[in-house]
Amino acid sequence: MGVVVSDALNPSNVRARRAWDIAAAVPDPEIPVVTLADLGILRSVECDDNGAVIAKVTPTYSGCPATQLIEQMVLEALKRDGFENVRVESVMSPAWTTDWITSEGREKLREFGIAPPVKASNSIRALFGETAVNCPLCGSEDTERISEFGSTPCKALYRCRTCLEPFDYFKCL
């Protein structure tokens, strides 16, 4: 779990804490089984001196088409819960990595049928090499990649040679 998230989990005031909980529970529009907090997309929630709430989110990929929708969903969720003065900011740095997906999020992905990213995405081996991806359905290690790019920028398409089912793999980044 990233440092910024830990900070946000212990905000200095109750209001920011409540705003964090609301924003954190917003589901990802592409993979609704996981929340923005599960994915590590929600970086922080702050309240400034004027009572404004600032939620900071980061895109998974530069061109992720869900980015704007996510910002809008956070905005609406907070307004629905009574926060009037709300701003959502997109932060580029530090760059999002799949290592920020929580273990709970990884488990939810697997249950949903998406193989979670192999760990330690920052190692060159994981980024370039052929790493073993376990089938989320039967657990077999005997899988093959069909396509590097799947239905969303963050996923690749795989097939299990044991149970013969195709599945999505959440790519390492």
């Binding site: 061109g63 396509s147 799947g150």
Partner: protein, 250 residues
Amino acid sequence: MSDDLFRYVLRLADDHLILGQRLGEWCGKAPSLEEDLALANIGLDCLGQARALFTYAGKVEGKGRDEDDLAFLRPEREYCNALLVEQPNRDFAWAIARQFYFSAFMLPFWRAMGKSTDDDLRAIAAKAEKEVAYHLRHSAEWVIRLGDGTEESRRRMIAALEELFIYTGELFEMDDVALAMVSEGVAVDASELRDEWRRTVDGVLSEAHLTAPEAAYDQTGGREGRHTEHLGHLLSELQYMQRAYPGLEW
């Protein structure tokens, strides 16, 4: 300083906008469904990088132009992308060769840019580097598959690699704008990336049992707005909605 920085960022933004548009032309027409998704996804990455770069360029320029103004409302001569990225999709091998040459350059470029003194460019680079690693791997796999494939695929791969080669030299070009940015610690000296690029290209081509082309000359001019005849046609499609319906929003 800020004028050079604006031009430098704008060049990068234009490279990615134009390449993203070219990749988007494959949507619904790629050789297979998986490849349709792949090219559209790579195009999206390019477009995402372009948006971040245009937004930053607009901020640096300080004249109130936003990403849309810069992307849609300039005449052809003001686009300063490299000539390589505007080259048309003659066939699938052309799209792959163009992507391969470009990604083999952008990977070490963004990596080096990770040490830029410019905060915005450093943040964009950190994200883009990881995305480009996938683009390079994907296009390199196709170069090998087509180059070492059937007689027909090999013939087309060789033709694309050879015809596009004259546009690769421009990627390493250093002019006054780029040199000024290097001296500020903002930019990368692209000419220093040439050896690594050549090693990547030679390595993949030898796996494909192909010989790397040699350029008889380098075709350049894109950075000053002197383009091949293909850019104007691309722009007429890219700009159509904003020109026909100014201020249109989806």
